[in-house]
């Protein structure tokens, strides 16, 4: 029993130390570096590091040098066995508003070790509210519109069944 306790304590300390000393900013810069290879750049006003989280404020998303969207806050939270990425107030450039919804108030992507090959998506905004899942194993994505707002610009991409509008894609 003592051995189990000791092992659990060591495991807990290891987990905490990994999160505490994780170079979060550098990990973000590395992600930025790989995005830059695809001509996507993120300009942020500030970076805040927490023990379990990492927050970017006022992020402008550039694609091929064009400022296409602005995110008021981008928050990444991880406990290693559970991670989430939350986007607050995403606004796309006026010129793109005929193609994609203008405002996404909140979007969250979550991953749990209980479902290791699945990422859950929840979002709400001018388009209504969505609930979806990405299956990494099957390489497919399904998003259901649970509340319908202004979807005129994305309607050609959507399909309707008895439950309502949905979007499906394989990658």
């Amino acid at each position: 029993m003592q051995m189990v306790k000791k092992s659990a304590l060591i495991f807990l300390m290891l987990w905490f130390a990994i999160l505490l000393f994780m170079p979060k900013a550098e990990l973000y810069y590395t992600i930025e570096e790989s995005l830059a290879k695809q001509d996507i750049k993120l300009n942020e006003k500030s970076i805040e590091e927490g023990i379990f989280s990492f927050t970017l404020k006022d992020v402008t998303v550039y694609v091929k040098g064009i400022a296409l969207a602005n995110i008021e806050e981008l928050d990444f939270f991880t406990l290693l066995f559970y991670s989430s990425l939350e986007l607050n107030n995403l606004k796309v450039d006026e010129a793109l508003q005929t193609k994609v919804p203008a405002i996404t108030k909140k979007a969250s992507f979550t991953h749990s070790i209980l479902l290791p090959f699945s990422i859950s998506i929840d979002a709400n905004g001018s388009f209504g509210a969505i609930d979806g899942k990405v299956n990494i194993m099957n390489k497919d994505l399904r998003i259901d519109l649970i509340e319908v707002g202004d979807i005129s610009m994305i309607q050609p991409l959507l399909t309707k069944d008895e439950k309502g509008w949905f979007y499906e894609k394989s990658f």
């Binding site: 300390m13 130390a17 000393f21 550098e26 930025e32 570096e33 750049k41 091929k64 450039d93």
Partner: protein
Amino acid sequence: MKNLFKPESIKIFLGLLTFFLIIKLLWFIVQVTWLATSDIDQAEDQSSKSLYYRVKLTPNNIAAPKKVVQKTTKKIVGSIKEIKLLAIYNASDMAVVTIEYRSKSKVLGSGDKINGFTLEGAGNNFAMFSKDDKNYKVLLSKNTKNVLNKSSIKSVSTVSAKVKGEKVLGEVTNEGSAKIIDRSLLEHYANNMDDIYKNIGITEIKDKKGLKGFKINFVRKDSPFSKLGIRRNDVIKSINGQEITSYNAAFGVYKNIKNVDNLSLVIMRGKEEMELEYEIN
């Protein structure tokens, strides 16, 4: 001497400290070996601001070449004035107008003649006639405009949009030496980016220093773009004085295209640099 701390506690504390140090050291090795150490930010593109602005010195909204035409109109006493424009049906492939001539209404298609004047085309609120190599612009009659706008023009526009799907209304017309782009055409392409790429193929030209310009791969025959006078293999260097050396500059032009009254393209055709000018009506 009595110990302040139990040797056991000190041992645990030192063990923990060493453990944390090892983890920190491991992360440090990962950081130095694999992770990026600096932020990559997009530099603000200063090139998106126009280098010059075209200023109209004419007191009203009529652009210079059109003014010449209007002067010419005045010289021809009564002849063009006898034609009263009642309604317009303007599709991308042809224009049909209803006119009143000597108290009789007639329907004319592109190329039809009346009183020696040939119908060349039509815009949103005008029809273009030609006679003896001169162009004459006849505006939609104000008396009938309200009624016809609702009954003729708008209903036709809606029907044609529904029937023909993405058919574009408005045209590029020649008025003497000047080419005139119908504003509705410009607005259509500004709101429907996909339609641009159905009619014209554009690829970037890059060198080691970066983007040098945009090359025209193809221009669809009979599309409004072909009427602009641009051809395959032309390289767009600048638009309205704005050098197109970045995607941001090109996007900036695209975003503001609805607000411009004139359009000036500097292109390279082979080794020759050319300037193409258009008016937006």
